[in-house]
Symmetry: C2
Subunit: 167 residues, 2 copies
Amino acid sequence: MNIFPDPLLDEAKGLIEDYRRRGWRIVTAESCTGGLIAGCLSEIPGASDVLEGGFVTYSNAAKNQHLGVPRETIQRVGAVSAKVAEAMAVGALTKGDADVAVSATGIAGPGGGSADKPVGLVFLGAARRGGQARHERHVFAGDRTAIRLAAMAAAFALLRRISDQED
Amino acid sequence: MNIFPDPLLDEAKGLIEDYRRRGWRIVTAESCTGGLIAGCLSEIPGASDVLEGGFVTYSNAAKNQHLGVPRETIQRVGAVSAKVAEAMAVGALTKGDADVAVSATGIAGPGGGSADKPVGLVFLGAARRGGQARHERHVFAGDRTAIRLAAMAAAFALLRRISDQED
């Protein structure tokens, strides 16, 4: 049996192979996805060649304590924001030896949404060692599980583009 | 659709309710499960009341850098060991505000097994703030996914027993 849908597993497998070929290691920094990005990457046998590890920073305190995201930033712009997504990715890189970090912070629902920040809003962040951080803003449809799966797929696509830009 | 099998989701839901009632917060420290324990707990709406966050320490370097597991311990007894499972749980507690930590380190396969440490061998660790660390040794059957799902179920059962012992 599979835990994750086949398209996600196929993409995870491709990423592991691609990053292994480049000799790049990945670290994750997950809020709304709660560990699923790392959990799916690590479904692939041999993922340990590429997946350094990850952080599940579900609470705001954990975002600060585990990843060094400034409390003032979280208070000023909110945990679900471009700035926090980028800070999570940068923080994850500084805590270890990985080459590329990917992060996700969003509102998976069903509660917690507002007119300004609706359920389904997800910011992804990414950073390469020695490079600039970047972010993406998404609004995904569906229930909590669908939103989390969509955020995983978008994170994999972001990791893929970071690799493709190297060519 | 569900990501995880219903029995695991039901157990995760029960744990979130039970720990919420006690006012206890959980942190995870995952190696072989790669984020799936946190990923399943966070499938439950309102998990943020209980799940502080987690660490995916897939590499030995991450076990040391993220959780403070001594490199000498890993070298002496191996990453898949009772001592490292306990040290991962204790390390996760020291890095934040959670009340209970649960950890998993094992050999999910298909590679990496030996006569001494076969595929399916998983050590779980747990610690309560102010209490002693504990561990469990399991040998699970099946493929990589089955071993990881079994490790998740055992981790949930361990969290359940820690709560039940309070009564």
